[in-house]
């Protein structure tokens, strides 16, 4: 399964223990907390992000258990409302948005671009600490009552409810800064720090995905910043732009909120698509089928993603004209995802596919992104949305995209780059079992929710009419299976981290540019900057990736 010995002397030579790996180069706590190294910041982000993923998961499980009973059970109405609000906030702001861009992006973009570090290392560390500050403020708000407004903070409820909404609003504002700084860093890195010979058409597809995401992060997050600020000012100082008693228009809040939040869902899915592009090429050992199409559709999603926010307001009192305009534009953004999916399946054609754990997640990802994406298109046909809006159909749709696609891709990336980041390999058998459990549990959780949505069960319901109970019980059963799958992953990855067997530089034999250096890479990534002479993932020959022709 590895490149034969004869072919990778140069590679092995490059990983000669001359330079210590970034993990062992200074092991004091201060060397980690005060690091400038993009790899360490990436690992710290990964740890924080996984921690919040499990907190969000616990909230989700609590919600699902409560929904076993139609009447009051386990928690009262207010705590249930707080639970689903915090599940939304923790999962979106603290896990999904930073997960792939900040954890894997930080670690891999400089490696893939052939640079020693991101453009502004200090800014990168500042972004991590701003994230930690925002996260701790969110936790503080959580412990002191937490908000019960839903992660969407719709006014006038969010500006009049007596619960602790202000700290959570401020936390969202601060986390936005962290997201902006990360995006800014990656755009400048991609523009100005590419290795010699690495022009735009040889850029790895993961970097294209991260580049598209960064554009959205930089250009959309400020609007959330100002919207959240105005609601905070309205709660504290009493003069608000959205106060209906003063002529304010709650739908204006929804426009400004969704102007950020719809591109934000592309912040969550674009890097996942980048990970899938890399893993599909690596494990089917084939060049990306339609490289230009995939790269351009990343930019397409990033740009057209800004045009479609109105499909969240079809029944919110928006005018019919706007509903039509946003409906059509939403269809265009759907096409880019379709292009990518067809090209990924095309990549597998005549490849040499090794069915490893990441490939299992890729298969799950493909099924879920088509099903989730097309239910999104179904929602964008304005009239069907009238029946489905704010019901469990919408909940199932966005969980298909966020858990089915984005988390699956995160897991695929975690397994694919685990040897690169930590130099250890995980147990393949457990990996496949966990992948099967997760795909099965996921289906069992969210297919019933599609049907609940058809039946008309609104979302965010503490008590529901009796005839919805059967499907809710099925969904909770699926949720426990899903949770069990995630626990298994945590277990065998921690075991692999601690006691896994050392692996060599390129265990998968992949020709992505990040595999040019040792695993785990040295602090300065490369002995000297490589010259790139070919596209990534070109498996026609045996040379290691982007071989260094004598400079």
């Amino acid at each position: 399964m590895r490149l034969s010995e004869a072919d990778s002397p140069r590679l092995a030579g490059a990983a000669a223990p001359a330079a210590p790996s970034y993990l062992t180069d200074g092991t004091t706590v201060m060397s980690w907390l005060n690091t400038r190294d993009h790899k360490r910041i990436g690992v710290m982000f990964l740890a924080a992000v996984l921690f919040f993923f499990f907190i969000g998961g616990v909230f989700a499980l609590a919600l699902r258990i409560k929904l076993l009973q139609p009447g009051p059970f386990l928690v009262d109405a207010l705590s249930y409302n707080r639970l689903f609000t915090l599940h939304g906030i923790v999962m979106i702001f603290l896990f999904l948005i930073p997960a792939i861009p900040s954890a894997f992006g930080n670690f891999l973009v400089p490696l893939m671009v052939g640079a020693r570090d991101v453009a502004f290392p200090r800014l990168n560390l500042a972004s991590f600490y701003i994230y930690v500050a925002g996260a701790s403020l969110a936790i503080w708000g959580m412990l002191h009552g937490g908000a019960d407004t839903g992660w969407t903070f719709y006014t006038p409820y969010s500006s009049t409810t007596p619960t602790q909404v202000f700290p959570i609003l401020l936390a969202a504002f601060i986390l936005g800064f962290s997201s902006i700084l990360t995006g800014l860093n990656f755009i400048v890195t991609t523009h100005t720090m590419r290795a010699p010979g690495l022009n735009w058409m040889r850029l790895p597809l993961f970097v294209w995905g991260i580049y598209g995401t960064s554009i959205i992060q930089v250009l959309a997050t400020p609007v959330l910043g100002i919207t959240v600020l105005i609601v905070a000012v309205e709660r504290v100082a009493g003069f608000g732009m959205f106060d209906p008693a003063r002529g304010g228009d709650p739908v204006l809040f929804q426009h400004m909120f969704w102007f950020y939040s719809h591109p934000a869902v592309y912040i969550m899915i674009l890097p996942a698509m980048g990970v899938i592009s890399e893993t599909v090429c690596a494990y089917s050992r084939k060049n990306p089928f339609g490289y230009k199409a995939i790269a351009m559709s990343s930019l397409g999603i990033a740009f057209v993603g800004f045009f479609t926010w109105g499909h969240h307001l079809f029944v919110a009192g928006q005018s019919t004209f706007d509903a039509g305009a946003f409906g059509i534009l939403s269809m265009f953004v759907g096409v880019f995802t379709a292009i990518k999916v067809f090209n990924w399946v095309g990549t597998m054609y005549r490849g040499a596919i090794a069915f490893k754990t990441p490939m299992a997640y890729v298969c799950g990802f493909l099924y879920f992104i088509v099903f989730g994406g097309m239910t999104g298109i179904a929602l964008a046909t304005t009239s069907l949305d009238i029946h489905w809006h704010d019901t469990y159909f919408v909940v199932a749709h966005f969980h298909f995209i966020m858990v089915g696609a984005s988390v699956m891709a995160f897991l695929a990336g975690l397994h694919y780059w685990f040897p690169k980041m930590f130099g250890k390999t995980y147990h393949e058998g457990f990996g496949l079992v966990a992948a099967a459990l997760i795909i099965l549990g996921f289906n069992a959780t969210f297919i019933p929710q599609f049907l609940l949505g058809n039946e008309g069960m609104p979302r965010r319901y503490y008590q529901y009419p009796e005839h919805f109970q059967a499907l809710n019980v099925a969904s909770t059963a699926g949720a426990t299976l899903l949770a069990f799958g995630f626990v298994i992953i945590l277990v065998y990855l921690v075991i692999a981290l601690g006691w896994g067997k050392q692996c060599e530089a390129n265990p998968w034999g992949s020709k992505g540019f990040e595999w040019m250096t040792a695993s785990p890479p040295s602090t300065h990534n490369f002995e000297e900057i490589p010259t790139i002479t070919q596209m990534p993932h070109d498996y026609r020959t045996h040379e290691p990736p982007g071989v260094i022709r004598g400079t």
């Binding site: 089917s284 029944v315 039509g324 096409v335 088509v370 009238i386 609104p458 498996y539």
Partner: protein
């Protein structure tokens, strides 16, 4: 076929003119979705099997897609999506523009209850009566936060916004009782803010309307006088207090028969020693009752959530006094059961 697919997809029954057409588009879209995702999944599995890695040093050809295949990847999905859009938007416009001959009903959504007022007839809480086969337009507004009027069987939904009107219309075809659900999150009682649409045969509806007009209200459970035409004499303070309690929605959270609800019960409340959530005790006399109406969060009874909206500036002095008198009258030994009075709601003139 329609019935089979409807049951298969757990769709509620089609009780309005929209429902049938909407469900046809629904079947078309969902079946294509199902077909496409299984097609992609199966192709992937076929490729897994057929092109599995045979040896470690296997090399693979460099394949670039021909231009027509990439063009196909763009045009085929786009064609489907745009077809769905135009089918859907045609239906959407039909649902958003009420016919001019529609019968108007005014809806007032308030924290966790629905109030309906017919321009020429009675008004009622949580129960909307409409004649079958008639276009009905609902002009809706909210007194506090955003709610959403949603009847799954009619496939209609519209957010009810504070400070302005929003409108939906439907034509209920089959008589029956259908649940109204609030679809936009509006606080602790969001999930119990349920009403009922009773679709009557046209003749039955006319009879009911005439009966309301004749003022035989005392016996009707939901009918209630509007203060303009035939309100019963105000009666003593307790009577007035009961009417105000119903009107302001106090009965939604406070029960009068001793059972615990969102708020403490009013039975035997007067002069009861209440334990507050900060551990101190207070005697529920007139002062405490008035103060709790004006600023509920000040002294919250132990075990209850501070979700009561403040009535400061919304109920005048004499009304507060009437409420207090009504509470004082609720002693377990002297309780009288009577119909709950509906709200008074001034309809807006003109279309």
């Amino acid at each position: 076929m329609n019935e089979l697919l409807r049951r298969l997809l757990f769709l509620p029954d089609q009780a309005s003119t929209f429902a049938y057409d909407l469900d046809q588009l629904h079947y078309f879209v969902i079946i294509t979705t199902f077909f496409m995702s299984t097609a992609v999944g199966l192709t992937a599995l076929v490729f897994f099997a057929r092109y599995r890695r045979r040896s470690e040093t296997q090399t693979t050809p460099h394949i670039e897609p021909p231009w027509w295949m990439e063009a196909g990847f763009v045009t085929v999905p786009l064609a489907f999506f745009l077809l769905w859009f135009f089918l859907g938007f045609h239906e959407f416009v039909r649902q958003q523009t009420p016919p001019s001959d529609a019968m108007d009903v005014y809806v007032m959504a308030k924290k966790w209850m629905w109030k309906f007022a017919y321009p020429d007839g009675p008004n009622s809480i949580n129960v909307l009566r409409v004649p079958a086969g008639r276009n009905v337009r609902l002009l809706m507004t909210s007194r506090d936060v955003i709610h959403s009027f949603y009847v799954p069987e009619f496939r209609t939904k519209k957010d009810v916004l504070p400070g302005r009107y929003s409108q939906i219309w439907f034509n209920a075809t089959t008589p029956g009782r259908y649940q109204i659900l609030c679809a936009e999150y509006c606080g602790a009682g969001h999930s119990i803010m349920r009403g009922e649409v009773i679709v009557l045969k046209p003749q039955e509806y006319e009879d009911w309307l005439a009966q309301q007009k004749r003022g035989a209200l005392a016996s009707r459970q939901d009918g209630s006088p509007t203060e303009y035409d035939f309100a019963p004499p105000l009666g003593n303070l307790v009577e007035q207090g009961k009417r105000i309690a119903a009107e302001q929605g106090c009965l939604k959270c406070h029960s009068t028969d001793g059972t615990r609800h969102i708020g403490p019960t009013w039975l035997d409340l007067y002069r009861r020693r209440e334990k507050l959530n900060d551990g101190t005790f207070v005697d529920a006399d007139e002062a405490y009752l008035t103060e709790s109406m004006m600023d509920p969060a000040l002294k919250v009874v132990d075990g209850f959530q501070p979700v009561m909206p403040a009535f400061q500036g919304k109920i005048s002095g004499p009304e507060v006094a009437a409420l207090v008198e009504y509470i004082k009258s609720l002693q377990s030994d002297a309780v009288r059961t009577g119909p709950s009075e509906g709200p008074a709601y001034a309809p807006v003139r003109g279309r």
